[in-house]
Each structure stands twice: as C-alpha cells, then as structure tokens.
C-alpha cells in the first residue's frame, strides 16, 4: 500500500534531480527547466501532506495553486531575461554571462 512516505520520497528524488541540474548546467534554459522540476516536486509534497494529514481541509492544494501562480510568473520573466541576454550577448551560457559579476 502506498503511503505518505512514498510520495515524499518521490518528491525528494525529483527535487534532488532538479537541484543537480540547476547547479551543474551551462545552458540557462536547462537551468530554468530544472527549477521547474524542483517546483513540481514541492507541489507533490504539499499535495501529499494535504491528502494524508488533513484530507478534508485541502490547505496544501491551495498552497500548490499559489506555487503554480508564482512558477508561471517566474518562467515568463526568466525566459524574457534569457532572450534579452541572448539578443545582446549572443549566448545563454550561464558561465559566460557576467554582466552583474563583481
């Protein structure tokens, strides 16, 4: 029987894969995709808590909706930044974008 721990382990595995991708990739779009993976993992954990600990209150599902709102805003602004960086620098290699490096 599948329980709360299974869902939480799945969320932790997906989050770790996203964390590895976000830290180790050069391409800024792949970094953004890894961040989306991490946000999805957090949503799985929130909904699993909501389902198994307070099944009648749905608080975790409401939080997941707000996480999705923030993720949509984040991905639109992030891709706009990537495209405008690409227009000026002709690259989206995160190791070569050093406009704000001190």
């Amino acid at each position: 029987m599948v329980g709360l721990e299974h869902y939480l382990i799945l969320a932790a595995v997906l989050f770790s894969i996203g964390l590895y991708g976000a830290l180790s990739k050069r391409n800024a779009i792949v970094i953004l995709m890894s961040i989306e993976l991490m946000l999805n993992a957090v949503n799985i954990a929130l909904i699993a808590f909501s389902r198994y600990i307070v099944p009648l209150l749905l608080t975790g599902q409401v939080f997941a909706i707000f996480v999705m709102v923030v993720a949509a805003a984040e991905v639109s602004v992030g891709l706009a930044i990537i495209i405008s960086v690409y227009r000026y620098r002709e690259t989206i290699d995160a190791t070569k974008i050093n406009l704000m490096k001190w």
Partner: protein
C-alpha cells in the same frame, strides 16, 4: 491496489523523465522529457485525489510553460552546443545526493500524524470555497493577479525592441 500500481508506474516514468531532463545532451529532447515529467506529475496528483490540480497542471505546465520553454529554445541558437555541464558537476552531484540523503533520513524518521479519513472528492467546489469564501485565502487570491500582471509587463518590457 490500483492506486499503488498507478503510483509506481507514474513514479518510475517521472523519475526517468526527470533524469533525462538533466542528462540528455540535446536541449530539445530534454524539454520534451520535461513535458513527459509534467504529465506524470499530473497523474500523481490524480492518485492523490487532487482532480482539479491535475487539470490545472496539464493546462498550465503541459500546455503553457512547456510551449514557452520550447519557444525560447528555438529562439536561441544554443541548441547546437547542447546541454553541457559546467565545472561544478561533481560538487553539484554531491550536494544533491547529500540533500536527498538528509531529507530521506529526516522524513523516514518522523512520525507523521497520518489521518485515516477518506479524501474529499471532487475537490473543485471545496477549493473554490476555500479560495473565495469567508475566512479563506481571498487576500492572496487578490495579490496573485497583481504578481501576474507585473510579470507580464516585465516580460514585455524586457523583450521589447529598442
């Protein structure tokens, strides 16, 4: 029983797709496996009896966000270089593995107060009551459109031709 089988199939496909996102060299294929991962996450929501969120996941992530990402990949020519790793590959792997170990240890050793009540189904009207009803989450619901409007205006201002 059926939920268990569905969970295991979806979990295995989802983790494989997530690994493909970070391991594939081809950026476009990585984006397509990200779409597959979003779809399996929607299935996971269904096994958690969150039907409304599964629909929202498919509409927003599989529908909108993946299209945005694929469009951005096509607008940049970085596809030729592929999705390569930087010098931090081994430290990043160690950090992720340590994080996974720590979290797994913590959550397997915590006595969760699991409730035995059956989940609410369908959830759509209950969620609407929580979001818009008395004593609910109406203030964050009012703030969210402001955030989305700011994001839209910011994205337009950033990508506008001078």
């Amino acid at each position: 029983m059926g939920i268990s089988i569905a969970f295991w199939i979806l979990a295995v496909i989802g983790v494989m797709a997530a690994l493909a996102v970070v391991l594939l060299r081809d950026v476009f294929r990585a984006a397509l496996s990200l779409v597959l991962c979003f779809l399996t996450v929607a299935g996971i929501y269904i096994t958690l009896s969150a039907d409304f969120l599964a629909a929202v996941q498919i509409l927003i992530y599989v529908g909108a966000i993946s299209v945005l990402i694929i469009l951005a990949i096509m607008l940049t020519r970085e596809v030729q270089h592929g999705s390569t790793s930087n010098r931090l590959q081994i430290p990043a792997f160690l950090v992720a593995a340590l994080f996974l170990g720590g979290v797994a240890f913590a959550l397997l050793n915590t006595p969760w107060p699991v409730s035995s009540a059956a989940p609410l189904e369908p959830t759509t009207s209950a969620l609407a009551g929580l979001l818009f009803g008395e004593g609910g989450f109406i203030l964050p619901v009012e703030i969210a459109p402001i955030l989305l409007l700011a994001a839209i205006i910011g994205a337009i201002a950033l990508t506008r031709e001078k």
